[in-house]
């Protein structure tokens, strides 16, 4: 009961913060831009947020965070719209939605598919919001007791999880993590003041900017790769969408998958290193398994839309749990959010919730409001988004290039950042060619300095004894969980399943 009493003042503080006209505007701008990005192919949420991050430097902290979060979950919504209408996932978490969503559109049921996706997402978003509000404070309280060994082991768990869940070779993903950690420690060592791996370049003493590495690997490399694939033909299935409202039968089929999707999404979202994409894939696999008639999947089963769409949204929301309560980002996108906080002069970590309650609760309340806005933005305005799809890629990518150029340069106003982005673009393109997944790298890049610092502290306390990581119970728990991940994933049967799941089912 005590928690309940605590909750309401907190949430009401949150809503009071979120519904001020200016914050509502930031929220709206965020979800609007997010939807735009989700709809437009070739630019994912990570690159988009990296691009727009410098713009938020001048905003107040709450506004900046509300807007960035809006972009993030707005992109999940937008991605599903294109997945359903043109079989082009706007971003990777919507890939599975293509399968049955597009089939439904082909059968003239695009309306119900879109509606179920939006309502499922809204439901998942609501549950996600409640979950953050409930689980956040106790986790943060627990985290206050974490010492260096716990943090180190937790980060190891997150990184290994991101490698295990990335697609392609596990070994290559692990190597990418190590590479990311190395990139992360470029710059001045906080402990000794020594400049490392700067190669005499003065601009590198502050380290490699996150914006640079994200735009290079996810922006530049992506465009080169898309151009090579040639003009994608888009089969626009847009007759007039009539009958947006799903039938009773649709609702009956959708509610259970939406609930299961939400649960799975919440799990993968909270787990550092996992995320919306894997949540959507797992849910699809589960729905196919529990369905009475699995043969309907792939032929326009509404469960195949409701489940994954709820899952990716729940995961997107719950990803804020480790980020805000522990100060440990679970993905590259979340790392950007933390970056935004740091730039605003707020040290991320469990203390944010108590020291800046208006920030934490305001963000949570705004997420719920933003989810509501998205339903309104997506269903009645669907025609507008579809129009956007008719813009050919050859006109889109120069615009993305120009926004990237502005974004990168505005971080430090130095040309070096532009050239560095170019270098990482090249490297990212090589990664694409060698089938090395860059997502684990970017997470490791952010965690690199944190990990080194916590390793150093842990070993200092234990007087150089590495067993400290397994003799402290919480730390040992994280490491055991990590070992379990690895063992489970190396089991041949599950490995095969994972490869099937993470492989692109639509061949996009």
């Amino acid at each position: 009961m005590e928690t309940l009493a605590e909750w309401f003042p907190n949430l009401s503080l949150g809503f009071a913060t979120a519904v001020t006209p200016i914050n509502l505007l930031y929220c709206f701008l965020g979800v609007f831009v997010g939807t735009l990005i989700g709809v437009l192919p070739g630019i994912g949420p990570l690159a988009a947020i990296a691009m727009l991050l410098p713009i938020t430097f001048n905003l107040p902290p709450v506004g900046a965070l509300i807007m960035l979060a809006g972009i993030y979950y707005g992109a999940q919504y937008g991605g599903s719209t294109t997945a359903i209408l043109v079989k082009l996932p706007g971003e990777s978490a919507s890939v599975v939605t293509c399968i049955d969503g597009y089939e439904m559109a082909k059968q003239g049921r695009a309306g119900p598919a879109l509606a179920v996706a939006a309502l499922g997402s809204f439901f998942a978003g609501t549950v996600g919001t409640i979950l953050i509000a409930t689980a956040g404070p106790p986790i943060a309280e627990m985290a206050l007791k974490f010492g260096a060994p716990e943090y180190f082991s937790l980060m190891v768990m997150g990184l290994i999880a991101s490698a295990v869940l990335a697609h392609g070779s596990l070994l290559k993903a692990l190597a990418m993590i190590v590479l990311g950690l190395l990139f992360g420690i470029v710059g001045t060592d906080v402990n000794s003041g020594m400049s490392r791996f700067a190669f005499g370049v003065s601009g590198l003493t502050d380290g490699i900017s996150f914006v640079v590495i994200a735009m290079g690997l996810f922006g530049f490399a992506e465009i080169v790769n898309n151009l090579e694939a040639g003009g994608t033909k888009r089969d626009l299935l847009f007759q007039k969408i009539k009958n947006i409202w799903p039938t009773k039968e649709d609702f009956k089929r959708s509610w259970a998958p939406a609930m299961r999707g939400t649960a799975i999404g919440a799990f993968f979202g909270t787990l550092p290193g996992a995320g919306p994409t894997i949540a959507a894939f797992s849910t699809y696999a589960l729905e196919k398994k529990v369905a009475k008639d699995p043969s309907r999947f792939g032929k326009g089963a509404i469960e195949g839309v409701a489940g994954p769409e709820s899952a990716n949204n729940a995961a997107a929301q719950c990803a804020f749990i480790p980020t805000l309560t522990l100060g440990i980002p679970g993905s590259g996108t979340m790392a950007l959010m933390l970056g935004a906080l740091t730039i605003q002069g707020i040290a991320p970590g469990p203390q944010v919730m108590t020291q800046r309650p208006e920030l934490f609760w305001g963000l949570i309340a705004s997420m719920w409001i933003g989810n509501g806005m998205l339903v309104l933005l997506n269903l009645p305005l669907i025609g507008l988004w579809v129009k956007l799809l008719t813009v050919p890629y050859r006109m889109l990518f120069p615009a993305i290039m120009c926004f990237m150029a502005i974004g990168v340069f505005s971080v430090n106003n130095q040309a070096l950042d532009i050239y560095m982005t170019l270098m990482f673009g090249f490297l990212g393109y090589i990664f694409v060619k060698l089938k090395c997944e860059p997502a684990p790298l970017i997470l490791a890049f952010v965690l690199g300095p944190l990990m080194e610092e916590n390793l150093r502290r842990a070993l200092l306390i234990s007087r150089g004894d590495p067993t400290v990581f397994i003799t402290r119970p919480i730390s040992a728990g994280f490491l055991i969980a990590t070992a379990l991940f690895l063992v489970v994933m190396l089991a041949p049967a599950i490995r095969k399943k994972r490869d099937q799941m993470t492989e692109d089912p639509v061949g996009a």
């Binding site: 190395l182 791996f197 120069p398 502005i406 106003n413 170019l422 673009g425 090589i430 060698l434």
Partner: protein
């Protein structure tokens, strides 16, 4: 015995990781190592480098056993023009300091050349529209502190 590379992708990926690992270890030799109890600045990178060399070696070695794919050809046109666009932008806006409008014009125009469907009339239009749009949003709207032209 003759080693045959069955997976080009893995073979080169392994070599790449070995290369990065070696670089890390060699550069980190200049930094004090310290010990486990008092880690010096060289401690973490050296171990990471060693781990990466080992991983790279395993990946490369596996490429002679496990069947994989050939590396697809590079898209040189895109790579060339997009790089040119970016490099020119950096040079124009910072080194030469010719102002926002010319720099944006250059990055857009050079980028459009990267597409195989390039058409110059369309490119000029797009450049004009994007210059106007970005100036409105970033300079007038968000008040970013860049001069529009070199005469300010």
């Amino acid at each position: 015995m003759q080693l045959k590379i069955k997976s080009q992708e893995d073979f080169w990926a392994g070599l790449m990781f070995i290369g990065f690992g070696l670089l890390a270890v060699i550069v980190a030799r200049d930094y004090p190592m310290g010990g486990a109890m008092r880690m010096g600045p060289g401690y973490f990178p050296t171990y990471l480098g060693v781990i990466m060399i080992v991983m790279g070696a395993i990946i490369s070695f596996r490429s002679t056993i496990v069947q994989g794919e050939k590396i697809r050809a590079f898209g040189w046109r895109g790579l060339f023009f997009l790089s040119l666009a970016f490099a020119t932008y950096g040079f124009l806006i910072d080194t030469l300091d010719v102002g926002f409008i010319l720099s944006i014009g250059a990055v857009v125009l050079l980028s459009t050349l990267a597409s195989r469907e390039f058409h110059w009339v369309e490119s000029l239009w797009l450049t004009a529209v994007l210059i106007l749009g970005t100036t409105a949003v970033f300079i007038w709207g968000l008040e970013m502190p860049y001069p529009l032209f070199w005469w300010r």
